[in-house]
């Protein structure tokens, strides 16, 4: 346990997990602004029209429940999910090993993380229009997933 350290140096603690609750995680540290991803792989993984991701430093992140299963969705990284309920949790990039991406839907309080941009916008569904004026990029997020 590092509760004292978290309290002193990392005011933000963010928790989340899967639907059945077996896989749980905690981020003790800053979280990079959320982004919508409109790629077809995120759709197939989540079943949703689009995904929303937040990003944390790997050193600030840990699983606090059962370990997730993983699927290497590309050479670039693995998607993490609950083996018991399939709940989609995150993405661990092999190209950026000091960071982990978490799905906003898996957060206990997604309200706290409004997206600040769109990525893979060129792949968005024809009927899925979010009501915002956020910057929209056709490529991937510059520094991560």
């Amino acid at each position: 346990m590092h509760e004292a350290e978290e309290t002193m140096s990392q005011p933000m603690v963010v928790e989340g997990g899967c639907l059945c609750g077996q896989v749980r995680y905690r981020i003790a540290g800053p979280v990079a602004p959320a982004v919508y991803c409109h790629c077809s792989m995120c759709r197939k993984a989540t079943g949703a029209p689009a995904a929303v991701w937040i990003f944390a430093a790997r050193k600030d992140f840990r699983f606090t429940g059962a370990p997730p299963a993983s699927y290497a969705s590309s050479p670039r990284g693995e998607r993490l999910f609950c083996p018991d309920c399939g709940g989609q949790i995150g993405f661990a990039a092999k190209t950026k090993t000091d960071e982990i991406a978490l799905l906003a839907g898996s957060l206990d309080d997604p309200d706290a993380f409004p997206p600040q941009s769109h990525v893979m916008f060129v792949n968005r569904l024809s009927w899925f229009h979010t009501d915002d004026d956020l910057p929209a990029h056709d490529g991937i997020r510059p520094s991560a997933v």
Binding site: R43, A45, A48, V52, Y71, C85, G86, G105, P110
Partner: protein, 142 residues
């Protein structure tokens, strides 16, 4: 004679595949927290079809999680993709996630439900009918 409509889809890794033969019911957005915690998306979207016209056709059978006393969610055991929802209250119908369809563009949702649980920042540009809880029968996954 017109050709029978066939709708197919599957999980991210491709191990679990499904096919719907014949028409499907229009899609619906679900804003409930359980859908968020299973799929990880900010919202889910579903189409539905009669069980008798829905079949799994892939090499791998889906895993199942009983998310409530009435609900069963099926997902790929290899990649976790959320695929279907079945309810004991509506046993002849299966709901299918729009995101796992091979051609989701063809299935725009026609209503919202469980908007009382929606994420505060999640807003879409549409004027679709919205329901704070469950929609009318046949309107979506419940």
């Amino acid at each position: 004679m017109s050709e029978v409509e066939v709708t197919e889809g599957g999980c991210l890794c491709g191990a679990v595949r499904y096919r719907i033969t014949g028409p499907v019911s229009p899609g619906a957005y679900c804003h409930c927290s359980m859908c968020r915690k299973s799929g990880g998306g900010p919202v889910s979207a579903w189409i539905s079809a009669p069980q008798e016209r829905f079949e799994f056709i892939g090499e791998t059978a889906p895993a199942v999680y009983e998310s409530s006393s009435e609900g069963r969610r099926r997902f790929c055991p290899k990649c976790g993709s959320q695929l279907t929802f079945e309810s004991t209250g509506n046993p002849d119908t299966v709901a299918i996630t729009v995101g796992t369809l091979d051609n989701p563009d063809a299935h725009p949702p026609h209503l919202h439900f469980w908007t009382s649980s929606a994420i505060s920042w999640f807003h879409l540009k549409d004027d679709l009918p919205s329901f704070e809880k469950t929609p009318p029968i046949g309107g979506g996954k419940d």
